[in-house]
Symmetry: C2
Subunit: 205 residues, 2 copies
DNA sequence: GCGTAATTGTCTAATTTTCAGACAATTTAA
DNA sequence: TTAAATTGTCTGAAAATTAGACAATTACGC
Protein backbone atom coordinates (compact mmCIF):
# COMPACT_ATOMS: atom_id res chain seq x y z
CA UNK A 1 0.00 0.00 0.00
CA UNK A 2 2.89 2.31 0.66
CA UNK A 3 4.42 3.66 -2.51
CA UNK A 4 6.99 6.04 -1.13
CA UNK A 5 9.83 4.31 -2.95
CA UNK A 6 8.01 4.69 -6.23
CA UNK A 7 7.51 8.38 -5.54
CA UNK A 8 11.17 8.74 -4.63
CA UNK A 9 12.19 7.20 -7.95
CA UNK A 10 9.92 9.57 -9.84
CA UNK A 11 11.24 12.58 -7.97
CA UNK A 12 14.83 11.51 -8.55
CA UNK A 13 14.16 11.15 -12.24
CA UNK A 14 12.72 14.65 -12.46
CA UNK A 15 15.73 15.99 -10.60
CA UNK A 16 18.04 14.33 -13.10
CA UNK A 17 15.93 15.58 -15.97
CA UNK A 18 16.34 19.09 -14.63
CA UNK A 19 20.07 18.56 -14.84
CA UNK A 20 20.58 16.91 -18.21
CA UNK A 21 18.66 15.68 -21.28
CA UNK A 22 16.82 12.40 -21.35
CA UNK A 23 19.33 10.47 -23.45
CA UNK A 24 22.00 11.12 -20.85
CA UNK A 25 19.99 9.52 -18.07
CA UNK A 26 20.16 5.77 -17.55
CA UNK A 27 18.07 3.60 -15.29
CA UNK A 28 21.27 2.93 -13.39
CA UNK A 29 21.73 6.67 -12.87
CA UNK A 30 18.27 6.97 -11.41
CA UNK A 31 18.51 4.09 -8.97
CA UNK A 32 22.02 5.06 -7.88
CA UNK A 33 21.00 8.62 -7.12
CA UNK A 34 17.89 7.35 -5.39
CA UNK A 35 19.77 4.74 -3.40
CA UNK A 36 17.55 1.94 -4.54
CA UNK A 37 18.07 -1.39 -6.25
CA UNK A 38 17.81 -1.49 -10.02
CA UNK A 39 15.27 -4.28 -9.80
CA UNK A 40 13.07 -2.03 -7.76
CA UNK A 41 12.85 0.29 -10.72
CA UNK A 42 11.65 -2.49 -12.97
CA UNK A 43 9.31 -3.63 -10.26
CA UNK A 44 7.38 -0.39 -10.67
CA UNK A 45 8.07 0.66 -14.26
CA UNK A 46 8.51 -1.19 -17.51
CA UNK A 47 11.06 1.35 -18.66
CA UNK A 48 11.83 5.08 -18.54
CA UNK A 49 8.92 5.90 -20.82
CA UNK A 50 6.49 4.11 -18.58
CA UNK A 51 8.00 6.15 -15.76
CA UNK A 52 7.38 9.37 -17.66
CA UNK A 53 3.79 8.38 -18.42
CA UNK A 54 3.22 7.54 -14.80
CA UNK A 55 4.60 10.87 -13.63
CA UNK A 56 2.28 12.77 -15.95
CA UNK A 57 -0.69 10.63 -15.04
CA UNK A 58 -0.14 11.14 -11.35
CA UNK A 59 0.55 14.81 -11.87
CA UNK A 60 -2.81 15.20 -13.57
CA UNK A 61 -4.65 13.24 -10.91
CA UNK A 62 -3.06 15.09 -8.05
CA UNK A 63 -3.96 18.34 -9.78
CA UNK A 64 -7.61 17.41 -10.08
CA UNK A 65 -7.81 15.99 -6.57
CA UNK A 66 -6.38 19.06 -4.88
CA UNK A 67 -7.89 21.62 -7.20
CA UNK A 68 -8.32 24.82 -5.21
CA UNK A 69 -11.95 25.90 -5.23
CA UNK A 70 -10.99 29.53 -5.52
CA UNK A 71 -9.33 28.81 -8.85
CA UNK A 72 -12.35 27.37 -10.56
CA UNK A 73 -13.87 30.71 -11.45
CA UNK A 74 -10.84 32.24 -13.10
CA UNK A 75 -9.30 30.74 -16.17
CA UNK A 76 -6.02 32.42 -15.42
CA UNK A 77 -5.93 31.10 -11.90
CA UNK A 78 -6.85 27.66 -13.20
CA UNK A 79 -4.04 27.76 -15.69
CA UNK A 80 -1.59 28.81 -13.05
CA UNK A 81 -2.52 25.73 -11.10
CA UNK A 82 -2.48 23.50 -14.16
CA UNK A 83 0.96 24.63 -15.29
CA UNK A 84 2.51 24.62 -11.84
CA UNK A 85 4.40 21.41 -12.41
CA UNK A 86 5.63 22.50 -15.82
CA UNK A 87 6.75 25.88 -14.61
CA UNK A 88 8.56 24.40 -11.64
CA UNK A 89 10.40 21.97 -13.89
CA UNK A 90 11.02 24.04 -16.96
CA UNK A 91 14.30 22.40 -17.78
CA UNK A 92 12.96 18.90 -17.32
CA UNK A 93 9.94 19.60 -19.50
CA UNK A 94 12.14 21.23 -22.09
CA UNK A 95 14.38 18.16 -22.16
CA UNK A 96 11.35 15.97 -22.62
CA UNK A 97 10.05 18.23 -25.35
CA UNK A 98 13.29 17.70 -27.23
CA UNK A 99 13.59 13.95 -26.67
CA UNK A 100 10.10 12.53 -26.66
CA UNK A 101 8.21 11.35 -29.71
CA UNK A 102 5.99 14.03 -31.14
CA UNK A 103 2.55 13.72 -29.62
CA UNK A 104 3.63 12.31 -26.33
CA UNK A 105 3.93 15.59 -24.52
CA UNK A 106 1.12 17.17 -26.51
CA UNK A 107 -1.22 14.50 -25.27
CA UNK A 108 -0.38 15.24 -21.68
CA UNK A 109 -0.73 18.96 -22.19
CA UNK A 110 -4.07 18.55 -23.89
CA UNK A 111 -5.28 16.21 -21.20
CA UNK A 112 -4.48 18.50 -18.33
CA UNK A 113 -5.72 21.59 -20.20
CA UNK A 114 -9.00 19.96 -21.08
CA UNK A 115 -9.71 19.01 -17.52
CA UNK A 116 -8.89 22.48 -16.26
CA UNK A 117 -11.00 24.21 -18.87
CA UNK A 118 -13.83 21.79 -18.24
CA UNK A 119 -14.01 22.82 -14.61
CA UNK A 120 -13.93 26.45 -15.53
CA UNK A 121 -16.64 26.20 -18.15
CA UNK A 122 -18.97 24.21 -15.96
CA UNK A 123 -18.48 26.66 -13.13
CA UNK A 124 -19.34 29.53 -15.46
CA UNK A 125 -22.43 27.75 -16.74
CA UNK A 126 -23.61 26.99 -13.24
CA UNK A 127 -27.37 27.39 -13.08
CA UNK A 128 -27.68 28.26 -16.76
CA UNK A 129 -29.70 26.17 -19.13
CA UNK A 130 -26.92 25.30 -21.56
CA UNK A 131 -26.69 22.02 -23.41
CA UNK A 132 -23.77 19.73 -22.73
CA UNK A 133 -22.95 19.91 -26.39
CA UNK A 134 -22.48 23.67 -26.34
CA UNK A 135 -20.33 23.38 -23.25
CA UNK A 136 -18.19 20.81 -24.99
CA UNK A 137 -17.68 23.05 -27.97
CA UNK A 138 -16.58 25.89 -25.75
CA UNK A 139 -14.33 23.60 -23.75
CA UNK A 140 -12.66 22.33 -26.91
CA UNK A 141 -12.09 25.87 -28.09
CA UNK A 142 -10.35 27.01 -24.94
CA UNK A 143 -8.46 23.77 -24.54
CA UNK A 144 -7.00 24.11 -28.01
CA UNK A 145 -6.04 27.67 -27.25
CA UNK A 146 -4.23 26.58 -24.14
CA UNK A 147 -2.50 23.75 -25.93
CA UNK A 148 -1.33 26.17 -28.59
CA UNK A 149 0.08 28.50 -25.99
CA UNK A 150 1.87 25.67 -24.21
CA UNK A 151 3.43 24.30 -27.39
CA UNK A 152 4.57 27.71 -28.51
CA UNK A 153 6.04 28.20 -25.08
CA UNK A 154 7.99 24.98 -25.37
CA UNK A 155 9.18 25.59 -28.89
CA UNK A 156 10.49 28.96 -27.76
CA UNK A 157 12.65 27.32 -25.15
CA UNK A 158 10.30 27.97 -22.24
CA UNK A 159 12.23 31.09 -21.38
CA UNK A 160 9.23 33.35 -20.85
CA UNK A 161 6.86 32.38 -18.10
CA UNK A 162 3.73 30.92 -19.74
CA UNK A 163 1.59 32.85 -17.32
CA UNK A 164 2.24 35.83 -19.57
CA UNK A 165 0.68 34.02 -22.50
CA UNK A 166 -2.15 32.90 -20.33
CA UNK A 167 -2.78 36.45 -19.24
CA UNK A 168 -3.34 37.34 -22.88
CA UNK A 169 -5.78 34.51 -23.42
CA UNK A 170 -7.60 35.29 -20.23
CA UNK A 171 -8.01 38.95 -21.11
CA UNK A 172 -9.27 37.94 -24.50
CA UNK A 173 -11.89 35.43 -23.56
CA UNK A 174 -12.97 36.31 -20.08
CA UNK A 175 -15.68 38.75 -21.07
CA UNK A 176 -16.68 36.68 -24.06
CA UNK A 177 -17.40 33.51 -22.19
CA UNK A 178 -20.33 34.73 -20.17
CA UNK A 179 -22.04 36.26 -23.14
CA UNK A 180 -21.59 33.14 -25.23
CA UNK A 181 -23.03 31.09 -22.44
CA UNK A 182 -25.93 33.50 -21.94
CA UNK A 183 -26.80 33.41 -25.61
CA UNK A 184 -26.54 29.65 -25.72
CA UNK A 185 -28.70 29.49 -22.66
CA UNK A 186 -31.33 31.71 -24.27
CA UNK A 187 -31.29 29.68 -27.47
CA UNK A 188 -31.72 26.51 -25.53
CA UNK A 189 -34.70 27.98 -23.70
CA UNK A 190 -36.25 29.38 -26.90
CA UNK A 191 -35.89 26.38 -29.17
CA UNK A 192 -35.41 23.57 -26.79
CA UNK A 193 -36.03 20.99 -29.51
CA UNK A 194 -33.31 21.99 -32.01
CA UNK A 195 -29.65 22.36 -31.24
CA UNK A 196 -28.20 25.83 -31.32
CA UNK A 197 -25.06 24.77 -33.16
CA UNK A 198 -24.00 22.30 -35.80
CA UNK A 199 -25.70 19.02 -34.83
CA UNK A 200 -22.57 17.05 -35.68
CA UNK A 201 -23.01 14.80 -32.67
CA UNK A 202 -26.02 16.27 -30.99
CA UNK A 203 -27.03 14.91 -27.67
CA UNK A 204 -30.61 15.29 -26.57
CA UNK A 205 -32.17 13.38 -23.75
CA UNK B 1 17.86 -0.24 2.53
CA UNK B 2 14.99 1.92 1.48
CA UNK B 3 13.67 4.09 4.28
CA UNK B 4 11.24 6.26 2.41
CA UNK B 5 8.33 5.09 4.51
CA UNK B 6 10.18 6.01 7.66
CA UNK B 7 10.89 9.45 6.25
CA UNK B 8 7.25 9.85 5.26
CA UNK B 9 6.16 9.07 8.80
CA UNK B 10 8.56 11.62 10.20
CA UNK B 11 7.42 14.27 7.78
CA UNK B 12 3.78 13.56 8.52
CA UNK B 13 4.43 13.91 12.22
CA UNK B 14 6.09 17.28 11.75
CA UNK B 15 3.17 18.42 9.65
CA UNK B 16 0.77 17.43 12.39
CA UNK B 17 2.96 19.09 15.00
CA UNK B 18 2.77 22.28 12.99
CA UNK B 19 -1.00 22.03 13.27
CA UNK B 20 -1.60 21.13 16.89
CA UNK B 21 0.24 20.40 20.15
CA UNK B 22 1.87 17.09 20.89
CA UNK B 23 -0.74 15.79 23.32
CA UNK B 24 -3.37 16.06 20.60
CA UNK B 25 -1.48 13.84 18.22
CA UNK B 26 -1.88 10.08 18.44
CA UNK B 27 0.06 7.38 16.68
CA UNK B 28 -3.16 6.54 14.91
CA UNK B 29 -3.39 10.12 13.64
CA UNK B 30 0.08 9.89 12.18
CA UNK B 31 -0.36 6.60 10.37
CA UNK B 32 -3.79 7.57 9.08
CA UNK B 33 -2.55 10.84 7.63
CA UNK B 34 0.46 9.05 6.23
CA UNK B 35 -1.58 6.21 4.77
CA UNK B 36 0.48 3.56 6.48
CA UNK B 37 -0.26 0.69 8.81
CA UNK B 38 0.02 1.31 12.53
CA UNK B 39 2.39 -1.60 12.87
CA UNK B 40 4.72 0.07 10.44
CA UNK B 41 5.09 2.91 12.90
CA UNK B 42 6.11 0.56 15.66
CA UNK B 43 8.38 -1.23 13.24
CA UNK B 44 10.51 1.90 13.05
CA UNK B 45 9.89 3.67 16.35
CA UNK B 46 9.33 2.55 19.90
CA UNK B 47 6.93 5.43 20.51
CA UNK B 48 6.41 9.09 19.63
CA UNK B 49 9.37 10.17 21.74
CA UNK B 50 11.69 7.84 19.91
CA UNK B 51 10.30 9.35 16.73
CA UNK B 52 11.12 12.84 17.95
CA UNK B 53 14.63 11.81 18.93
CA UNK B 54 15.14 10.23 15.55
CA UNK B 55 13.96 13.34 13.74
CA UNK B 56 16.40 15.50 15.65
CA UNK B 57 19.24 13.06 15.21
CA UNK B 58 18.70 12.85 11.47
CA UNK B 59 18.24 16.59 11.25
CA UNK B 60 21.63 17.10 12.86
CA UNK B 61 23.33 14.54 10.66
CA UNK B 62 21.84 15.86 7.49
CA UNK B 63 22.95 19.33 8.52
CA UNK B 64 26.53 18.24 9.02
CA UNK B 65 26.61 16.15 5.86
CA UNK B 66 25.36 18.91 3.60
CA UNK B 67 27.05 21.77 5.36
CA UNK B 68 27.62 24.49 2.76
CA UNK B 69 31.32 25.33 2.58
CA UNK B 70 30.57 29.01 2.16
CA UNK B 71 28.92 29.07 5.57
CA UNK B 72 31.87 27.78 7.53
CA UNK B 73 33.60 31.14 7.75
CA UNK B 74 30.71 33.14 9.09
CA UNK B 75 29.10 32.35 12.40
CA UNK B 76 25.94 34.08 11.31
CA UNK B 77 25.72 32.10 8.12
CA UNK B 78 26.43 28.93 10.07
CA UNK B 79 23.66 29.71 12.49
CA UNK B 80 21.27 30.38 9.67
CA UNK B 81 21.97 26.90 8.37
CA UNK B 82 21.81 25.34 11.81
CA UNK B 83 18.46 26.87 12.68
CA UNK B 84 16.88 26.30 9.28
CA UNK B 85 14.80 23.39 10.46
CA UNK B 86 13.68 25.20 13.59
CA UNK B 87 12.77 28.35 11.74
CA UNK B 88 10.84 26.44 9.11
CA UNK B 89 8.86 24.60 11.77
CA UNK B 90 8.39 27.28 14.39
CA UNK B 91 5.02 26.01 15.47
CA UNK B 92 6.15 22.42 15.71
CA UNK B 93 9.22 23.35 17.74
CA UNK B 94 7.13 25.59 19.95
CA UNK B 95 4.69 22.75 20.59
CA UNK B 96 7.59 20.50 21.50
CA UNK B 97 9.03 23.17 23.75
CA UNK B 98 5.77 23.22 25.67
CA UNK B 99 5.22 19.47 25.86
CA UNK B 100 8.63 17.87 26.14
CA UNK B 101 10.47 17.19 29.37
CA UNK B 102 12.89 19.96 30.29
CA UNK B 103 16.28 19.15 28.90
CA UNK B 104 15.10 17.18 25.93
CA UNK B 105 15.02 20.07 23.51
CA UNK B 106 17.94 21.81 25.17
CA UNK B 107 20.10 18.81 24.48
CA UNK B 108 19.29 18.88 20.82
CA UNK B 109 19.86 22.59 20.57
CA UNK B 110 23.19 22.34 22.35
CA UNK B 111 24.23 19.44 20.15
CA UNK B 112 23.56 21.18 16.90
CA UNK B 113 24.99 24.48 18.12
CA UNK B 114 28.19 22.85 19.32
CA UNK B 115 28.80 21.17 16.01
CA UNK B 116 28.17 24.37 14.10
CA UNK B 117 30.41 26.45 16.31
CA UNK B 118 33.08 23.77 16.19
CA UNK B 119 33.29 24.03 12.42
CA UNK B 120 33.44 27.78 12.60
CA UNK B 121 36.17 27.89 15.22
CA UNK B 122 38.33 25.35 13.46
CA UNK B 123 37.95 27.22 10.19
CA UNK B 124 39.03 30.43 11.91
CA UNK B 125 42.02 28.74 13.51
CA UNK B 126 43.09 27.22 10.22
CA UNK B 127 46.87 27.32 10.00
CA UNK B 128 47.28 28.90 13.41
CA UNK B 129 49.22 27.20 16.14
CA UNK B 130 46.41 27.03 18.70
CA UNK B 131 46.01 24.22 21.21
CA UNK B 132 42.94 22.01 20.99
CA UNK B 133 42.17 22.98 24.54
CA UNK B 134 41.93 26.67 23.73
CA UNK B 135 39.72 25.90 20.77
CA UNK B 136 37.45 23.86 22.99
CA UNK B 137 37.11 26.68 25.47
CA UNK B 138 36.17 29.07 22.72
CA UNK B 139 33.76 26.60 21.23
CA UNK B 140 32.05 26.07 24.57
CA UNK B 141 31.71 29.78 25.04
CA UNK B 142 30.01 30.40 21.72
CA UNK B 143 27.92 27.27 21.97
CA UNK B 144 26.51 28.38 25.30
CA UNK B 145 25.77 31.77 23.86
CA UNK B 146 23.85 30.20 21.02
CA UNK B 147 21.97 27.90 23.34
CA UNK B 148 20.97 30.86 25.46
CA UNK B 149 19.71 32.71 22.44
CA UNK B 150 17.72 29.72 21.24
CA UNK B 151 16.11 29.10 24.60
CA UNK B 152 15.19 32.72 25.02
CA UNK B 153 13.72 32.63 21.56
CA UNK B 154 11.57 29.65 22.45
CA UNK B 155 10.44 31.00 25.78
CA UNK B 156 9.34 34.17 24.04
CA UNK B 157 7.03 32.22 21.77
CA UNK B 158 9.41 32.12 18.79
CA UNK B 159 7.67 35.12 17.33
CA UNK B 160 10.80 37.04 16.37
CA UNK B 161 13.10 35.42 13.87
CA UNK B 162 16.14 34.13 15.80
CA UNK B 163 18.40 35.43 13.06
CA UNK B 164 17.96 38.82 14.69
CA UNK B 165 19.44 37.53 17.93
CA UNK B 166 22.19 35.80 16.02
CA UNK B 167 23.02 39.00 14.27
CA UNK B 168 23.67 40.56 17.65
CA UNK B 169 25.92 37.76 18.75
CA UNK B 170 27.75 37.77 15.47
CA UNK B 171 28.40 41.50 15.62
CA UNK B 172 29.63 41.10 19.16
CA UNK B 173 32.07 38.28 18.73
CA UNK B 174 33.16 38.37 15.15
CA UNK B 175 36.05 40.80 15.62
CA UNK B 176 36.94 39.31 18.97
CA UNK B 177 37.40 35.77 17.77
CA UNK B 178 40.35 36.40 15.50
CA UNK B 179 42.25 38.39 18.10
CA UNK B 180 41.64 35.77 20.76
CA UNK B 181 42.87 33.11 18.42
CA UNK B 182 45.89 35.19 17.43
CA UNK B 183 46.85 35.77 21.05
CA UNK B 184 46.39 32.13 21.91
CA UNK B 185 48.48 31.24 18.91
CA UNK B 186 51.25 33.60 20.03
CA UNK B 187 51.18 32.25 23.58
CA UNK B 188 51.42 28.73 22.30
CA UNK B 189 54.44 29.67 20.18
CA UNK B 190 56.16 31.57 23.02
CA UNK B 191 55.75 29.08 25.84
CA UNK B 192 55.17 25.90 23.97
CA UNK B 193 55.73 23.82 27.12
CA UNK B 194 53.08 25.35 29.40
CA UNK B 195 49.42 25.78 28.57
CA UNK B 196 48.17 29.30 28.06
CA UNK B 197 44.98 28.74 30.05
CA UNK B 198 43.77 26.70 32.97
CA UNK B 199 45.35 23.24 32.49
CA UNK B 200 42.16 21.50 33.57
CA UNK B 201 42.52 18.83 30.92
CA UNK B 202 45.57 19.90 29.00
CA UNK B 203 46.45 18.03 25.89
CA UNK B 204 50.01 18.12 24.65
CA UNK B 205 51.46 15.77 22.17
C1' DG C 1 -17.69 7.99 40.58
C1' DC C 2 -19.02 4.41 36.22
C1' DG C 3 -18.96 2.77 31.78
C1' DT C 4 -17.57 3.22 27.17
C1' DA C 5 -14.62 4.35 23.65
C1' DA C 6 -10.09 5.29 22.16
C1' DT C 7 -5.28 4.53 22.40
C1' DT C 8 -1.28 2.05 23.30
C1' DG C 9 2.10 -1.42 22.85
C1' DT C 10 2.81 -6.16 21.61
C1' DC C 11 2.20 -10.37 19.14
C1' DT C 12 1.51 -13.63 15.26
C1' DA C 13 1.44 -14.89 10.38
C1' DA C 14 0.51 -13.68 5.56
C1' DT C 15 1.68 -10.65 1.85
C1' DT C 16 4.15 -7.30 -0.58
C1' DT C 17 8.24 -4.95 -1.52
C1' DT C 18 13.08 -4.71 -1.97
C1' DC C 19 17.20 -6.90 -2.40
C1' DA C 20 21.63 -9.38 -4.49
C1' DG C 21 23.27 -11.68 -8.15
C1' DA C 22 23.33 -13.55 -12.50
C1' DC C 23 22.13 -13.80 -17.58
C1' DA C 24 21.75 -12.90 -22.75
C1' DA C 25 20.81 -9.17 -25.77
C1' DT C 26 21.68 -4.35 -27.17
C1' DT C 27 23.75 -0.18 -27.25
C1' DT C 28 27.71 3.04 -26.55
C1' DA C 29 32.15 4.46 -27.07
C1' DA C 30 36.91 4.15 -27.67
C1' DT D 1 35.99 -3.98 -33.89
C1' DT D 2 36.66 -4.93 -29.25
C1' DA D 3 35.47 -3.65 -24.55
C1' DA D 4 32.41 -1.55 -21.48
C1' DA D 5 28.01 -0.11 -20.25
C1' DT D 6 23.15 -0.64 -20.31
C1' DT D 7 18.96 -3.01 -20.71
C1' DG D 8 15.43 -6.14 -19.58
C1' DT D 9 14.51 -10.47 -17.35
C1' DC D 10 14.90 -14.14 -14.13
C1' DT D 11 15.66 -16.52 -9.83
C1' DG D 12 15.35 -16.88 -4.66
C1' DA D 13 16.38 -14.71 -0.26
C1' DA D 14 15.67 -10.93 2.86
C1' DA D 15 13.29 -7.03 4.52
C1' DA D 16 9.34 -4.21 5.01
C1' DT D 17 4.43 -3.76 5.31
C1' DT D 18 0.11 -5.52 6.17
C1' DA D 19 -4.25 -7.36 8.69
C1' DG D 20 -5.96 -8.80 12.75
C1' DA D 21 -6.16 -9.69 17.35
C1' DC D 22 -5.05 -8.97 22.40
C1' DA D 23 -4.66 -7.06 27.28
C1' DA D 24 -3.48 -2.84 29.53
C1' DT D 25 -3.99 1.90 29.97
C1' DT D 26 -5.93 6.35 29.18
C1' DA D 27 -9.54 9.82 27.96
C1' DC D 28 -14.15 11.26 27.96
C1' DG D 29 -19.23 11.73 28.55
C1' DC D 30 -22.63 11.20 31.89
Amino acid sequence: MAKFTKIAIEKTFIDLLNERPLDQITVTDIVNRCGVNRNTFYYYFEDVYALIDEIFREQTNELLDNYPVESVNSLKSGFEVATKFMRENKTAIFHLYNSLNRGRLEEYVYDIAEKTVDRFIHAQAEGMNVSEHDLNVLTRLYTSAFEGVALRWMSEGMSVDPIEYINDIDRLIHGVTKSILKNASKDAADTSSSDSSRPQNSKKN
